[in-house]
Subunit: 294 residues, 2 copies
């Protein structure tokens, strides 16, 4: 078997980002942590931690951390079955990937209903969050991809509805004659990051083809809403985040009849874990109560 004292040191360094904080967490000295990680690196013949501020795991290091988390999950279930096992460990941490707009709308509610486990949320675009699962970096993901990743189950959650929104002043300035290709090519857009295709997808729906347009890059769901309110650009905002603003008229839909529905799926590792099963139940229940079901 692997040496779990060494692995615990590695996991603490990667999670906290520093040898000092890992030492504090493990109640040992930083030099003990450093020796354990070095020993593990020597035994495995590969670098596991990129020393920096913060320290991060190499691909091999992250893979080992993920193994440690899975073992911790299994240990927790063992404790539930064998109440005699030594004192209760700290609550287990579930690493999951999700798109930022799910975190900004419905996911926190599911996390609050999932019981006492801790969450380590990794944000990525819904078209890329399944990659984290594929690489083994997370145990579950909210993703746009229905096709189950190998070793995972996939459950449809419903669709997150997006509305192309801007401030009334923005619409008056940039779309005085309505939505046409020339206006869409001039009006500043909001784009979350280079993975964000939603504005392009919607433009294609609206006028048949996407156009190149000036854009702000704003990697935050709430900043998207705030920037639309401030008149910086138009962007695809989750209906749930802008419903009040649309009702009050602080934001308007560029085309009220043309929402964009993005189907989401929950993919989870098939490893037997009652914690993961409880989180899955909470996520599916919350999603089905808040997302659009056909």
């Amino acid at each position: 078997m692997l040496d779990y004292a060494l692995l615990a040191a590695l996991a603490a360094v990667v999670r906290t980002g520093s040898f000092e904080r890992a030492a504090q967490q493990l109640h040992v000295t930083p030099s003990a942590v450093s020796q354990r990680v070095k020993l593990l690196e020597e035994r495995l013949g590969t670098i596991l931690v990129v020393r920096g501020a913060p320290c991060t795991g190499t691909a091999a290091g992250r893979r080992l951390c993920q193994h440690v988390e899975r073992v911790a999950l299994l240990e927790r279930e063992l404790q539930a079955d064998l109440p005699g096992t030594p004192e209760s460990a700290p609550p287990v941490t579930l690493r999951i990937a999700a798109n930022a707009d799910s975190l900004a709308t419905w996911l926190i509610g599911a996390m609050a209903e999932a019981g006492d486990c801790l969450f380590d949320l990794v944000l990525d675009d819904q078209d890329h969050s399944a990659d984290w699962l594929r690489r083994g970096d997370v145990l579950a993901a909210v993703t746009g991809s229905a096709k189950a990743v190998q070793g995972c189950d996939s459950v449809p959650l419903g669709a997150l509805r997006y509305v192309a929104t801007a401030s009334p002043a923005f619409v008056a300035r940039w779309f005085p004659a309505g939505l046409d290709e020339a206006a869409l090519a001039r009006a500043p857009r909001l784009t979350f990051n280079s993975k964000d295709r939603l504005q392009a997808l919607w433009t294609r729906q609206a006028i048949g083809s996407d156009v190149t347009a000036p854009t702000h890059w704003l990697p935050s769901s709430q900043a998207f809403v705030d920037a639309a309110l401030a008149g910086l650009g138009w962007g695809m905002n989750p209906e749930m985040l802008v419903a009040d603003h649309l009702r009050s008229g602080r934001l308007v839909a560029l085309a009220p009849d043309l929402p964009l529905d993005v189907p989401l799926h929950w993919q989870r590792s098939r490893m037997a874990s009652s914690t993961l099963a409880a989180v899955t139940r909470a996520v599916v229940a919350r999603a089905r109560a808040t997302l659009r079901q056909d």
Copy 2:
């Protein structure tokens, strides 16, 4: 001089994340874009783009993109001075780094007042955002560091006030006897990412030393507030984001007399640019109107 047609192709690929979208932006074929980037890589003898989904720049590629942006900024000023120069280019994009909590509170207001330039926002912790400036990846940064990066000016902006907040039910469950070391070691915290030291800093202020505690990892300012409301954990939230919740009693301060003030600074490249000067004026004015001034 460098070949700016090649550089423009590189910049478009890195910005849009794909050769196809870069081609669309430049009104050429994807294979033309690919040839230009390859030619540039051959001439410079180094890989500039990591081909992937999305495509990203290597360190050398990103450095060249930053050069292209600076030249675009200078060209725009030239156009202002020489109205006879050929048709107006698209608005210039300013890449700046900021902490997520600034973006969530006061920065959008400054961006809206800065005129017609476009923003490419990079988010990083206030203790790390100056690194982006140091590496030349951004032209300006909202940072916790007062000491001017080489080639940059530093202006104090005031302090962002944080309050340690949780839901009343969370406080009743985890802090029934008030804040002490044992309770702080058991109560789940919220942590933004491994760079986030605010909860540790505040704990040290509150009880004299930090303690190891279970934590959720949530890389979003709004998710921090939502998770506190949902009772998932306590965390340091910007007072501006939680003032309404504190007034209504949906959130409570763990220690109302113990806020944490984080001084912020604006650091900007000293390159002569009227766009950067206008953004600086807007940022400083907005910060001084919203952040705490001594």
